[in-house]
């Protein structure tokens, strides 16, 4: 399904969208506004990095939305309660928590043979519950300046800091996928699990680590998002579950696993966010936004599959 000229096609689509946006609302492509759009896309980008890894391995992660919310709420609560502690001291345990939750997903899927759709959804429910128990049903606390810098600062008024973080994460995961044995094993597992197993790949280990990485990306997104929202918001991560899957698929990664890559997902995230901001600029109500988003996803995957069929 991924053809040679696929990425140029995606970029072309992106340019067309930007042109349309400029036509519909003059000033859309001002550098500063583009910076704002990039800042918005970066959060989806973080989640998309993890989701792509999981989808490449042949699974799916529906717990990312809950983890984003958890990252957001926990960061604000923890920092708000301990403003004097240095942020890494507070945040590193959170990242570890994200990895562990992801790895539990992987354990359930590989050891208990629970389908990924159900395991990660159930984990999402558990994480939601934990977040609610921790914050007592209403979000409190705030993000301290260092986190605010990471989440909302535009360098020179143009380049968002979180965009740079996104690029680092993107580079890291692309390196992981294409230049390490783990990455090659991940593709092997996604392409054909049994073949990978017979070739001596420890399928269970690969899957557990992959879900762990997805958990890490999701909770990281929530933490940085806290710097943008300044205070915690319950349910803020909900939309990221489906958007990250949509970005991955728009980016050309096969939902059945084994084919695709991180760059496509990044462009997919940009496409989704630009469409969203066009619709917001046009003051389309939520109902219209949902209909347009659904149609866009359908049209795009329809186009891909026709290309693939040939």
């Amino acid at each position: 399904m991924l053809k040679k000229r696929f990425y140029p096609f995606l970029l072309f689509l992106l340019v067309i969208l930007l042109l349309a946006a400029e036509l519909l609302s003059p000033g859309f492509v001002r550098p500063r506004h583009l910076g704002v759009v990039l800042r918005q896309a970066a959060f989806l980008g973080f989640v998309g990095v993890g989701q792509t890894l999981v989808i490449l391995s042949g699974g799916i992660d529906l717990s990312v939305g809950s983890l984003v919310t958890a990252g957001n709420i926990f960061t604000c609560e923890l920092l708000g309660r301990n403003p004097d502690l240095s942020p890494p001291l507070v945040l590193i345990p959170l990242l570890v928590m994200g990895v562990l939750i992801g790895m539990i997903n992987g354990l359930g899927i590989t050891m208990l043979h629970i389908p990924p759709l159900i395991m990660t959804f159930a984990m999402g429910s558990i994480v939601d519950g934990m977040t609610l128990i921790y914050c007592g049903g209403s979000a409190a606390g705030y993000a301290t300046p260092p986190i605010q810098y990471l989440g909302s600062k535009l360098l020179f008024g143009v380049i968002p800091v979180n965009f740079l973080l996104w690029m680092v994460l993107l580079g890291g995961s692309t390196f992981l996928l294409n230049r390490t044995t783990f990455g090659r094993k991940l593709f092997a597992v996604g392409t054909n699990e049994i073949a990978a197993y017979v070739s001596g790949v420890n399928v269970k280990k690969v899957k557990i680590y992959t879900y762990g990485l997805s958990g890490l990306c999701a909770i990281f997104a929530g933490m940085i998002l806290a710097g943008y929202t300044q205070t915690g918001f319950l349910g803020i991560g909900n939309e990221y579950t489906l958007s990250s899957i949509a970005a991955t698929v728009i980016g050309g990664t096969a939902i059945t696993g084994g084919r695709g890559g991180e760059i496509g997902t990044a462009i997919g995230a940009l496409i989704l966010i630009i469409i969203q901001s066009i619709l917001t600029v046009l003051r389309i109500p939520e109902s219209g936004r949902k209909i347009v988003e659904g149609l866009v996803i359908l049209l795009l995957i329809n186009a891909y599959f026709e290309r693939g069929k040939k």
Partner: protein, 321 residues
């Protein structure tokens, strides 16, 4: 194709496990909580579980065909909202439309899913994810906030007592089981779910099978939407949200394989009751709703692990023998 007889109905191990777990849970609940044993509570549990059973049946059908339907929540919401609005629009003469319009729309929505998945050969997860966004958009367009009303008499008949809901879901489960076991169309779903290559070689029209499977699922799902409208006396565009993944869990616990071709809808009733029984008992014990989120997650994992585990043992025996 050989004739199927009534004793061929597959009461497999997973279904038995589901009902055994339910019986155990029920006994424990009844022992630890006196208020659980009351008839009022039983009625409440029954009303709460009915829509889950209905949507679970729809999801099981789709899973049997080898797919998955993430748009059940949106179709349910759409039917719910449309039922309320068509009652408002048609007035007293609109009793019949209150059923016909949502059911028709549900079947149409499912049919669109089936066409996209079957004819264009697109992955079900993505298609139903995208269409769910679209259907939800339409539901919100028709009714941005919860509201409206239902004819009280109808609501009372449908969801006032415990007898009518029981009749509804029991007859639904038996009708669908009959359809799956004894009709060519029903057997076609199993064949397509077991392997599309085989189905093609057998001369089955895969596109047609997928279209009617998803359309039927849409039709059944919208029934749950109408039922919710009757139970709540009003419409809510978000009513279906929890049912998307609950229905998948219920289908799997009820013995249907996510890979398709294996299972049925007989286990759905037990699975749905397991699902709600635990919520019910946690409520009885006064556990905060926050903990219920955690409990629900653990219950789903445990229930699926138990049913999956039982199939694992079976598979191992198969390879050993």
């Amino acid at each position: 194709m050989r004739e199927y007889r009534w004793f061929d109905v597959p009461v497999n191990r997973k279904i038995l496990v589901a009902y055994l777990v339910l019986a155990g849970l029920y006994a424990i609940s009844a022992l630890i909580s006196p208020s659980f044993r009351t008839f009022v509570n039983f009625k409440h549990l029954l009303l709460q579980t009915t829509p889950l059973i209905i949507v679970g049946v729809a999801q099981s059908l789709v899973m049997l065909s080898g797919g998955v339907d993430l748009s059940v929540g949106a179709i349910m919401s759409l039917a719910n909202v449309v039922a309320v609005q068509s009652w408002k629009g048609m007035g007293n003469i609109g009793f019949i439309y209150l059923f016909l319009i949502p059911l028709g729309l549900g079947a149409l929505a499912g049919g669109i899913n089936g066409l996209l998945i079957g004819k264009r050969n697109l992955p079900p997860i993505i298609v139903t994810l995208a269409t769910s966004s679209i259907f939800w958009g339409f539901a919100l367009l028709l009714m941005p906030t919860p509201g409206g009303s239902m004819p009280p008499s109808l609501a009372l008949i449908l969801a006032g007592g415990s007898l009518v809901p029981t009749i509804i879901f029991c007859s639904l489960v038996f009708l669908v089981t009959f359809f799956l076991q004894f009709t060519e169309a029903g057997r076609g779903i199993y064949v397509v779910g077991s392997g599309e290559e085989v189905a093609r070689l057998l001369g089955i029209n895969i596109i047609r099978v997928k279209v009617y499977t998803y359309a039927l699922a849409g039709l059944i799902t919208s029934l749950a939407g109408i039922f919710m409208a009757a139970r709540m006396f009003s419409g809510d565009p978000m009513v279906g949200q929890p049912y998307v993944l609950d229905s998948m869990a219920v289908a799997v616990i009820g013995g249907t394989s996510v890979n398709g071709g294996e299972g049925g809808v007989l286990g759905v009733i037990g699975a749905a009751f397991i699902f709600n029984l635990l919520n019910n008992i946690l409520n009885m014990l006064g556990v905060s709703t926050f903990y219920q989120f955690v409990a629900k997650g653990i219950i789903v994992i445990a229930a699926v692990a138990i049913t999956q585990g039982s199939s694992l043992i079976k598979d191992q025996n198969k390879t050993l023998s």
